[in-house]
Symmetry: D2
Subunit: 498 residues, 4 copies
């Protein structure tokens, strides 16, 4: 059984005292294991990053950016292999894995613009003969801790920007599906990055806590669940680090009576069930305004769901694959059970999904639940599975009140034709990412990603312009040159007069 190791100072390092199996969720088998880094191994990575920092910091941004140009090429050339690795360890269908990778590449493309993005502000003559300007300088060694559900994309939200800003990076990816992440990091080495600038340590809490506590680490980016995000943020902050920690979500779509229902159903299908609903931007609650809209929505959705294909990652025609672990499958099923018990109506039931030839895979079928109410457990908590719940309300304001009352505020969407409804929603909804007829309003790479309320801890959102600010710190310079220098000196200026 092969072991996935670490990337430290440009070398693959194995740290075999502790390992953990990696599963193929489509089959339930395990054929690889991952090394779990000890504190010493993580410190070795930190030391490598620290050593690489002075030279990397002094490298002009345009030269740093050119490595990202080459990295983009390599990612595109190796896309199929990356998708294969994601599929093997996480079960994502190829088209979806390629889509994830493409979103990640867009962050690399954005990082290529570093010289523009790092521009500071210059003010001439703030006082007589006095100039002032601000520079955005790198932080030093920074770390990222990333989740299993986007092993390619989420790391690419972080380190291309961090590195192009002049920082050195240590990535702790999910230990469940580390191979694609590691492979991608090696491509960055291949693109010409100096050793030590980018490091990957696989591991668990020991690795995480080392990163959170080591004084050489200046900043931590995290994406995962809200309880862990809160722990990461509090711990990192208490250790004097800059931190942004992105947590859970419960994303609602409001379906207005004037929505084009066929389009709405079509959009929701992908947004609710794509990647088995294991996305922090998955659309898991549809709030229908008026029973007429609700009835139409449920009927059309149930019909459309008949065509959904669930199965192994390597069958391209499948719509979505297994969930990450057997435990997680059981948890999802438990939420469906609870909804049923608490009075909701299971319109389409994915609890007993069987995939022929993959009977041990961790599958849950697409599930549609109607007449869900805010008191139900399945409404209050993040399910992170292929389950779409329908809540019925009488007015748009009631729908918005529901969303604003939820503890999460990651993404949301409204389906309507009406400009006024869209504008009111956009203005007043307490959610960080808003879609107008766009069910997965993940901001493009040149805007920034971030939820509100308990979906994000920290001031600055991920990637895009906020990413630049997160991975740099402001230095303000004020400059006055004293008079009576060489310009005004008399000695040289009139030598022939004496």
């Amino acid at each position: 059984m092969s072991t996935v190791g670490h990337l430290i100072n440009g070398q693959i390092v194995n740290d075999k005292n502790r390992t953990q199996p990696i599963f193929n969720p489509s089959t339930g088998d395990s054929t690889r294991q991952v090394a779990l880094a000890s504190k010493a191994t993580v410190e070795q990575a930190i030391a490598a990053a620290q050593a690489a920092y002075p030279a990397w910091r002094a490298t002009p941004p345009i030269k740093r950016a050119r490595i990202m140009f080459r990295f983009k090429e390599l990612l595109e050339q190796n896309a199929d292999h990356i998708a294969q690795l994601i599929g093997e360890e996480y079960g994502k269908i190829q088209h979806d894995a390629l889509g994830e990778l493409q979103r990640g590449i867009e962050n690399v493309e954005y990082a290529c613009g570093a010289p523009e993005l790092l521009k500071g502000e210059h003010s001439a003559n703030v006082g007589p003969g006095i100039d002032a300007w601000s520079e955005f300088q790198p932080l030093g060694v920074v770390a990222g801790i990333t989740p299993f559900n986007f092993p390619a994309m989420v790391p690419l939200w972080m380190y291309p920007m961090a590195i192009v800003c002049g920082n050195c990076f240590i990535l702790k990816p999910s230990e469940r599906d580390p191979s694609s992440t590691l492979f991608i990091a090696q491509l960055l080495q291949q693109a010409g990055l100096p050793d030590g600038v980018m490091n990957v340590v696989n591991g668990d809490k020991e690795a995480v806590d080392t990163l959170l506590r080591d004084p050489r680490v200046q900043a931590v980016s995290f994406v995962g669940s809200t309880p862990i995000a809160e722990y990461i943020y509090t711990t990192a902050s208490a250790h004097g680090k800059r931190c942004q920690a992105l947590g859970g979500a419960k994303n609602h779509a409001i379906v207005m009576p004037d929505a084009d229902m066929d389009n709405t159903v079509n959009q929701l299908l992908g947004a609710a069930f794509g990647s088995s609903g294991e996305r922090c931007m998955a659309l898991s609650v549809a709030v229908a305004v008026g029973d007429a809209a609700a009835d139409a929505l449920v009927a059309k959705m149930a019909e459309a769901m008949k065509a959904l294909k669930v199965g192994a990652y390597n069958v391209p025609s499948n719509d979505f694959g297994p969930v990450i672990t057997a435990q997680h499958r059981d948890k999802i099923v438990g939420y469906i059970d609870s909804a049923e018990k608490q009075g909701a109506r299971i319109v389409v039931d994915g609890r007993n999904q069987v995939v022929n030839g993959h009977e041990n895979g961790f599958f849950v079928g697409g599930t549609l639940i109607d007449r869900v109410t805010p008191e139900m457990t399945s409404y209050q908590e993040e399910i992170f599975g292929p389950v779409l719940q329908v809540v019925r309300v009488k007015t748009m304001q009631e729908a918005m009140d529901l969303i604003n009352a939820h503890e999460y505020g990651n993404g949301t969407c409204i389906f309507t034709r009406d400009g006024e409804a869209a504008r009111y929603f956009t203005d007043h909804i307490m959610v960080g990412m808003v879609g107008i007829n766009v069910p997965l309003p993940v901001p493009v790479a040149y805007h920034s990603f971030g939820g509100w309320k308990r979906s994000l801890f920290g001031d600055l959102h991920a990637y895009g312009p906020d990413g630049v600010r997160f991975y740099t710190r402001r230095k303000a310079i004020t400059q006055r040159w004293p008079s009576a220098g060489v310009r005004e000196g008399a000695v040289f200026s009139m030598p022939t007069m004496k």
Copy 2:
């Protein structure tokens, strides 16, 4: 004895169960007292702010800004009275109090530009027919906690920007000199601010902790000492709030051998002793490169210090006044004692400063200490008094290493004529605010104020562009309009043809 109360929902409120005397540091007398807000009083202010928020948030930024235009006028018209109040309770000489106020007004001027500063980013056609934009929306109720040494300026760093961004504000100023702060807040009411948008609660730890823990407060700005800043940041963060907490400093100036020494001494005089050195940007350590520079610096500085005038706030010709309390005076004297014991040379001794007619005032004279070394207590800690220490080094690199090794990184300065020295210093010094021949490099209001290392906890600096980001949160919108609407509808377009 009059009592300074609170400003809640547009009304002065007195909360008399607990009070504390306010001293006139120039005389040592107390003629006023300040009400210390109970938890209930603070909650009353929070409730008022919360109630005022929806209408204020919906007020167009340009209308919010126009109140700041009027506020600026009122501040200018009332400058002398404000300076008088500062002098009475803190001892700052009038010219210095007016200077502080002017710096504060500059932040109001900056806030007048809100419509420009709040612009979001708009991207047309991020995909076919899809647009995306980011808005910067207010946070809600936010709080500020400010120190005694700038009772006018530091609050004005915070609330004009917070309010113009659409937030409602609760200010907890220093309980030692609250009168000018409260008076200024009343001018803002007079400028037309709706009741409840701006509130002032005087108080102590009870008030602070209420603000830090109440879930309705979304963000906290703090300026004070590093231990308190760290407490504020950790507590506010743990309660889910955005926080920026500015702490202590130990600001060094490097004096290069090519510096114009007369100019250098003249600049250092104000930067070291102005406001009795009770400034987080006070220049408290001069690092002379080479003994020749050191000898010249010490000799000329000692000579120049003979002309320094110390005394009561209301004598305009005085250079600086008393320190804030008798206890603080004793603490400063203790630092001078320790330096002497640890081997430094007291060149000018301000320990037994007597001001005729003000024998009970809290005075310390300007003090110059030579041959200070990094091991000395007086070097390691922030003195916050009129004490300039000289450290002698052999090279510029040694000087920079000293600065970079210090736990604080607020401000610093280099005196030189040489472009290369200045540029190297600017690039490599680990300090947030850098002066080139500018000893107090406080950024102008349209840049941002912030130290590095343990001088600031948080991502975003104070006031200026970072202030805008601190007091707003990003909302990213992605929009697509479905086809088959009124534009393409055939029904209406040819009604007369059928």
Copy 3:
């Protein structure tokens, strides 16, 4: 009869060899005359501006901005008097004159943000040890030539920004209603502007041509009709000057079948007839999509127009006043005649408007013309009077094709509820200023004003961010400091060791 003179170098100057009467369009009487500047007088103004330039350019932007803060106060304090002057010479009703002034004040408010607006871009480390930045420096002496219809607002689009950027200004306002313009310029003097920075010369073509040809004038801003704009642009360009010349318009509103017709009529009423239609943003053509919409629009508009009150400027309840001259009144009437002859239907006829007690005033009543077609003279040319023409089309695309085919492209609007229609319109219409249910989409002061096609000659729009760019030029600096300077010098660093 009093004479309106010039403001040169801080003094009112009279240049009496040539004068021209000023009329009160509400009565047809003339009680004042205006001096028409000779070439020599204009050159005197240019010389004054040139002399004032070096000191003004060296004044820090924040100090320049503070004069604009005071200017805003003075404008607000003198609003009624300004409105009175506008009314006397141009006939604008007070509420409209105050509205115009308010829009002008908003440009002054924007100019108060000069320190932020003038920030350049700074790039550290563009190469090893090399920094680069761009500054936006003033041009020198610049000129503005402005029309009669906004004697307060249009000049305020120009000179506050020009001046705050560090330029000196010469304004040539309309000779028909110069008094309010001159009075406002005097208020700027009163606000503390140094003599010579702002100058006003009244005059005609002689003055204009002097400004266009004098090599000391670096840039010219113009607002007026298209033929003159083209002349100004070509002449100024040929004389090496930067120029922006805003010309005529024919602004269309598309009325979609789903538009709220009551709201639409209400909006169009002000947009078509306000200020007698003598606005370059007046909405003069309504394009109704479908006959049902057209019929409803015409019927409701005709009804609403019954309440329009036309009369003298000093009756506050009037909706609009006279047009600027008797000749212009006759020209407008001629356009209505031609439409009638060419087959359009005059629904409401304002040709014989009589205002009791003001029988000699230059009045035209609100006029509504239906079934106008693109071939008609009244459609092709700018009428600049209180005339709304209705064109009937079958589809939205046909409406857009009409607009895109017109030689002008200043402003336009669509009335609809449908998000898709609005977005398609915004994206594809060839017009510089677009309203969605906003009939007069004059950009706010912090965006920029400008038409497309033959409505504007030049690259940069007026006021707002483009105004800053127009009144400054970019200077790009690249800086490297050679090594072996004082930082690395050994001589001084160890003098005592040898």
Copy 4:
């Protein structure tokens, strides 16, 4: 003899009725000819561009940018071949041709950031419920006319940015060395650009005038000599086009007495003689402050020039090659003659440069002339050859007055160590591109290139941020949605209540 044709609508087109020979300046031979486009051929290109425009405009910026990513790769892969083509037709030594290409690639890299660069400004709530934003939309068909001396770089200043902004482009390169330019354009096709978006027409005045007059061409960028630039600007402006026309230069370096003379000489060597001085940024005048500096400069420069190697393009160790034509060689020699006659001292004389084996090549050797004065013809006009002239002055102010009095204001530089001298120079020099110890201060690709005075006609500089503005126009949108839409509608919201 092969013929270089045009690239129209993705195809190479030959238009053989008129041709002109292309020379190899290193040998004086001609082995190729270039087709000179007729008016009809140019109109064919315009039509192709016009036809390609709607689809290209609608392509999302990120997709347009991705073609530039691929273009960069292809340029890098084909660098040697491009350098070979440049060498054959223009004589540039390979290292210099590769340097030129690299600078061009940097503009392609910048264009890759299009989605960031095209962001507009968004303002929520400019009034109650009213939003406003500005978009930067493409112009349509735009043209570029480029000079012989940078056949790779200058076109790359223009069309990558124009195209990525959504425009279609027609390039008219120099007819003296068109092959590298055409080859590069073909690489862009190969990168995936749709046919018709990029077109190249070779030609002379007939082609130029067609582009300047055709109403379908919206904008023209030009780089060349000042008389032609002025013609282009005036003609294009008179035909309603946006235009930026970059002309000639006379770039001065001030050598201060404190300059490091060895470094200065080393820098000037490349800046004066590189590419035979045929660069608009060539440093052609050294102004020495004080005779001591002048004497040292002249002596060291004369010594250093002994090592200069002049010869054919294909000998890599050569420093520079021939000039473009025999006529131009004679013109340069004529300038040296005139300086000699007018009293200057020819220190190093390159007039009779012979290159063995290339006796018919168009060579001029490096020439140094001392004691040049402002009255001399060689000082007043642009020589555009490998000639460095030294002017001696007594003070820095005198040096600056000289520069400010010259009709050109393209680039300039100061050599000094002194921060104050550099800052004063930067602030007050009337030149668009300024170097501090950087003799060729060509702005990096993310700043913008442009001279002042008669070195540039137009408002906006070339490439960088100004390039984005030049190739787009601002559209300002103001939006309000009427109430009483689906959000507030009662019909659907309480269907169960009836």
